[in-house]
């Protein structure tokens, strides 16, 4: 087991790499599988020092659903943002929001920030040095508190469930 | 198209020459970089303009563009990169040794000199 642990310090990463290799090569041939496997073992080992803590995904199901929600939000909300961008500028009500953070793992915070940025209408601007707040800019926001609640429930909670 | 390309390369060259003639190291580096863009494009189009004919052997390909200038440009890009890196570090060295970033190590602004004098007395 420890041997395996040594060989594959981040099995999840290795798996991802293998999949990506196959994607890159658009091929499922044995040769590519072997080669991808080779990279999947080698690269995590080479970069192990950069990944001191192993990443644990507790609830893959939640993660998958989260990804689905985000993708949907990206699609839907983009249309809204497009309308706002193309519409009258005067109608826009931009604003900053300080979102108090419950998640504490760096990866989770980062993914949350990313999600907020990708989903239209909001961009994460900064994390307070004490990791307690995320500063977000919204292109158009009418009720800031509601918006914050929405973000926390829709994005932060699933992430907290996955990474703790 | 050839005319457009020629003019574009000309503009890049002109910009590069103008900046190369400036008196401070950084604009000169910019000028050299512009010149290398110009010459890379020039060298590249010397194989003539071809659209959709990349030199990757493929039985279905209708034809290929001249691959040689591309190889030359690739070499030229790499060399230019090495040279740019060297010259920018040299510019730092020169600033450290000469005390300012003029290519000839000159203090240009008279006001600066006056200020220095004033500061000393």
């Amino acid at each position: 087991m420890s041997l395996l642990r040594q060989a594959l310090p981040h099995p999840l990463l290795s798996l991802t790499l293998l999949m990506l290799w196959l994607l890159l090569n658009n091929s499922l041939s044995t040769g590519q599988l072997l080669l991808g496997g080779f990279w999947a073992v080698l690269i995590p080992r080479l970069t192990a020092a950069f990944w001191p803590e192993s990443v644990r995904i507790r609830r893959p199901g939640v993660l998958l659903r989260f990804v689905g929600i985000v993708l949907r939000d990206i699609l839907v909300a983009n249309f809204i943002v497009a309308r706002r961008i193309l519409g009258p500028v005067e109608a826009l009500r931009p604003g900053f929001m300080r979102i108090p953070l419950d998640v504490q793992s760096p990866l989770a915070i980062s993914l949350l920030a990313n999600t907020i940025s990708l989903t239209p209408g909001t961009v994460s601007c900064d994390v307070s040095p004490d990791r307690r707040f995320l500063l977000v800019h919204a292109l158009h926001v009418t009720d800031i508190e509601a918006e914050i609640r929405q973000i926390k429930s829709r994005y932060e909670r699933p992430l907290q469930e996955v990474f703790t | 198209m050839e005319l457009v390309i020629a003019l574009t390369i000309g503009v890049l060259t002109a910009g590069g020459v103008f900046l190369s003639l400036r008196g401070h190291t950084f604009p000169v580096v910019l000028g050299l970089t512009l010149l290398s863009y110009a010459v890379n494009l020039f060298l590249f189009v010397m194989g003539r303009l071809a659209i959709g004919l990349p030199p990757i052997i493929n039985p279905a390909a209708p034809g290929y563009t001249d691959p040689l200038p591309q190889a030359l440009v690739l070499t030229a890009i790499v060399i230019a990169f090495g040279m740019t890196a060297f010259v920018i570090v040299l510019a730092l060295r020169a600033k450290s040794e000469l005390g300012n970033d003029h290519v000839d190590g000159l203090h240009i602004r008279a006001s600066d000199q006056e200020r220095q004098k004033g500061g000393r007395t």
């Binding site: 940025s117 209408g121 994460s124 601007c125 800019h137 | -």
Partner: protein
């Protein structure tokens, strides 16, 4: 039918790309401009990538899925870029338009 969808998708992608740039072009302050490129443009590129994936999968009769990778990278990097640019803007105390809410938060 598929081709129709592809064509539509291409146009949608191009449209969002354009929207992103229009936002960049016309919105009045930096923070607002930041919104267009980070998502509309990203989404636009994503849509076009999907078309590409399908198109080449069909053409060569083997799945061409590497476009997913481009999208993945984009989705990871675009927010990082946006975040750092915003951070820089905050540091430089860039002007926001008058009606921006909670301006004081930005300087906290």
């Amino acid at each position: 039918m598929l081709e129709f969808i592809l064509a539509a998708l291409v146009l949608i992608g191009a449209f969002f790309t354009l929207v992103g740039s229009i936002g960049l072009f016309r919105l009045p302050d930096f923070y607002m401009r930041l919104h267009g490129p980070t998502k509309a443009t990203t989404l636009g590129a994503g849509a076009i990538l999907v078309v590409s994936a399908i198109y080449f999968s069909l053409r060569s009769e083997t799945p061409s899925m590497h476009e997913i990778l481009v999208t993945l990278f984009l989705f990871i990097t675009a927010p990082v870029s946006a975040h750092l640019m915003a951070k820089a803007a905050l540091h430089l105390k860039l002007r926001t338009i008058e009606r921006t809410q909670n301006k004081e938060d930005s300087s906290a």
